[in-house]
Symmetry: C2
Subunit: 148 residues, 2 copies
């Protein structure tokens, strides 16, 4: 991915600006791939992440705060995100009896089945996106990103 070619500019860009732009371009590309991969399943990346979080609970329900904390991209409105998963019957929601302000959200059987399917496609997509990298380069990249 050549930054200058991508944004059709001739003149060189200062290194820091270039890095910021580069990261954005990379993220756009990743998003496109992931979005395309998820499209057949009619589920958004955010919805997918919520399902993964709920599966990670291993049967225990999660409340909205917990979900929000664990999301890669924090959303300002997790209620409606969960609403959409309820419509699909992938999760269920009930009021927490110990503290009736909270809700308990858990993944359904149908959600687990769907997730298993999607998981393997997502994994393939990740492999594809990063196919140009050696293991050592990935380690290096992660180390550099740690500095941010």
């Amino acid at each position: 991915m050549n930054v200058e070619a991508h944004i059709k500019t001739e003149k060189p860009i200062p290194l820091k600006s270039r890095t910021i732009i580069h990261l954005s371009l990379v993220q756009n590309k990743i998003n496109e791939s992931i979005h395309a991969a998820l499209k057949p399943f009619d589920i958004s990346l955010q919805q997918f992440n919520v399902l993964r979080i709920l599966r990670g609970q291993k049967g225990a329900p999660a409340n909205l705060n917990t979900i929000n904390e664990r999301m890669v991209t924090k959303m300002s409105n997790t209620t409606r995100l969960v609403d959409k998963l309820i419509i699909k019957d992938f999760v269920a929601r009930q009021i927490c009896e110990k503290n009736r302000r909270k809700v308990e959200i858990f993944i359904t059987e149908k959600g687990l089945v769907a997730l298993a399917e999607i998981d393997s496609i997502m994994s393939q997509t990740e492999q594809l996106i990063l196919e140009g990298f050696k293991e050592s380069e990935l380690v290096q990249l992660n180390e550099l990103l740690n500095k941010l």
Copy 2:
């Protein structure tokens, strides 16, 4: 930025998945900083980028296609993005006389003045975001991102 801590998970994540997540987290962080920096100016990052593209035209007008090509993040609806800049009187639009299907968009004096102000804040923000990096590390990061 520690990925596992950020998404509150205990178990280690496969390297490729971790890298994808890491890039997303980094992008979120960058977006937050930039968004905060732009907030006082009441302009979106996309709008800012369009202004920069138009200034890069050095007086020559750009049509929508040109703008779209040069944007870091391609938008599906540049017409309305430009509409918003017109409302602010930062750009002007007229029909291209040589080819009346096209439009000619150019930055106004007011737009140039606003852009100059915003520019310096954005530059500061970029410095701040990447302050943890040595020059050689930035070069390395850009090289790694090229592989994507």
